[in-house]
């Protein structure tokens, strides 16, 4: 029998190139995750400042952090703001996406553009503009969590629409027509045909909005007033090195949580894709 060759084909990259790129990618991943890993390491470091050399293992910072009233308040504020803003943004986006995807809307280009503008406006600008509005403008809500929540709805809207609209548009219109043909009302059609198909996208839009809000600091720092959300609390704390050590443990927990949430959002979205393809 003739000799067998190693015949792995290298059309787009040479074997050497592949080795080099793999090394580059590995290095990239290391640097990418290094900060996160360092944070986790320092959350267990006995020293009072996050600096080398490490000074031994401890969980006291976790204890301190969890017993800190201000941290708990900030966290709870963030959770409320994020949940509410994500829910509202998703609902409004869902309502708006349906006619934009399906119906003849006069001035669709203008509405779509308006909807996406918040994506381009620098958050600093939106932050100060909302500060003026809430403190001095016609909507004197004042500064606080409601204001932050509203600000986050504005920013999360385009994301939610960008997730929901293509999904709704991709659903075969004949499904709707079939539902109507079988006697369903508009609401029944939506509840029984449309909704089951877009539930994953709704969840994913909610999660993305939630993750965004729980990490948003620029807008919140302008309009949170004396009710800091967690990122605002963190931001003010990080400016003072002596305060940072108590912040790291919660930060670590938050990183892990938002990491998991983000992955959940992605997994749900992919499952939704599969559902639509009928697999």
């Amino acid at each position: 029998m003739a000799r067998r060759r190693n015949t792995e084909t290298f059309v787009v990259i040479s074997p050497t190139g592949k080795v080099l790129l793999t090394a580059f990618f590995a290095l990239f991943l290391v640097v990418l995750y290094l900060p996160t890993v360092l944070l986790i390491v320092f959350s267990f470091n006995a020293g009072t400042v996050a600096a080398f050399p490490l000074e031994g293992l401890t969980t006291k910072w976790y204890g301190l952090a969890l017993h800190s009233e201000s941290i708990r308040q900030a966290l709870w504020a963030s959770v409320r703001v994020a949940t509410l803003s994500a829910a509202i943004a998703t609902l409004i986006a869902l309502m708006a996406s349906y006619p934009l995807a399906r119906r003849h809307v006069r001035g669709k280009a203008v509405i779509s553009a308006l909807m996406l503008v918040p994506l381009v406006v620098p958050t600093v600008v939106l932050g100060v503009a909302l500060l003026i509005l809430f403190q001095k403008g016609v909507i004197p809500i004042g500064l606080g969590l409601i204001s932050v929540m509203i600000g986050h709805v504005v920013i999360a809207l385009p994301f939610a629409v960008l997730i929901l609209l293509p999904r709704i548009a991709s659903i075969d219109k004949r499904l709707e027509e079939a539902a109507y043909d079988l006697g369903a009302s508009g609401l029944q059609m939506f509840r029984r045909v449309m909704l089951p198909l877009i539930v994953p996208s709704i969840l994913s839009a909610f999660l993305i909005s939630f993750v965004f809000s729980i990490d948003e600091v620029v807008i919140a720092s302008f309009i949170a007033g004396d009710q800091p959300t967690y990122p605002v609390y963190l931001y003010s704390g990080l400016k003072f090195p002596e305060k940072t050590q108590t912040l790291i443990p919660v930060a670590t927990i938050m990183i892990v949580l938002s990491f998991l949430l983000a992955i959940a959002a992605e997994v749900i979205r992919r499952r939704g894709d599969r559902k639509l393809e009928g697999r």
Partner: protein, 390 residues
Amino acid sequence: MATAAQEPKAPLKRSRRETRNDGGSALSTYGLLAPMLIVLGLFFLAPLYYILLFSIALRRFSPTEALAALNGELNGFTTELWSKLVGVDVIVKLPGIDLTVPTMVVALIFIVLLLLAVSGGRISKDRGGWIVGIAFLLLLAPFLTLPAGNNLLRIMSLSSEGDSLRLFFKSVSMAMTSSVIAVIIAIPVAYFLAFCVGKSKYTWMLIVIAPFLTSYLLRVFAWKVILGDQGLINSGLMAVGLVDEAAPLTFLIYSQFTVIVVLTYAWVPFICLPIFLSFETIDRRLLEAAMDLGATRWQAFRKISLPIIAPGIVAAFLFVFIPSIGEYITPTLVGGTQGTMYGQSLASQFVGGAFNWQYGSVMALFLLGVVLLLTFATSRFLRSGAGGNL
């Protein structure tokens, strides 16, 4: 007679009914859109209107006076604060003029521009490009009427240290540097993921993207631990004796360098995605065809892959460059005094030491205007980079 006049209209009407593709009424259609429009109107357009108002109002307000001012006591127009920003002496003052109408007009123009910027000329294609032109002209009118030579000179020489415009250009160059570096790092990563890892590439892409979705603040903070005087790098270098314990490498932290490193780091995962997706669109057979015609792998990359993904690369660059210009958190945390950026100065007009809401509004509008112009000028790329979703 009446019937004769209606005759030709009938087919038009019918065709319109045929193109209507819904079972719902106009009421339900616009009813569904209403909440979004209301939210955006009240909490997005209205605040932008206010900064516009603040930027050209004659009276110098203390923030406590501002509320009263907004309730109708604005009684004049001035370019004073704008000339402070761009460093031009000519000041137009029009006292005693009710500002409501002119501001409304300018605000309207501004909104049109906003929409045009994002729609990327999709609207202007329907309505004629002249709308864009006129809108921009009107907005720029105050500047164009100023003595042009003097104006240009001031901008070129960037007179004094701490000048807002100077700070702005410094921010632009920092944003540009970090975005370019991010793109250069992202290209091989995206190429590797698209072509070298087989079916698991989407999982790997997720792993690359994931840090982007975790706390930005903390990742910035973590860089302090890496770059600080007692950080990972300095203590590592000290341990091997390359750096004297008494003299750590101080340029690593609280400098322009730090801001650029951190910005690059923060955006790279995000930038990998559009580039990865562009590589994904390349049919492998194109590369095979190139090699079949005698090209080496490098020639195939340079002559086939790169030109095809160029719009994606430009889009990725802009996705990062545009928001970076107004960056505010990163320089505050790691920039120190040397690495300050425009966004910080802007924020300090509102919540910091400078505390001048009117000048802050001018700065905010200027930033917004530049960002919108950039977006408009590059919307072709941005849309192709967003996979047609925008």
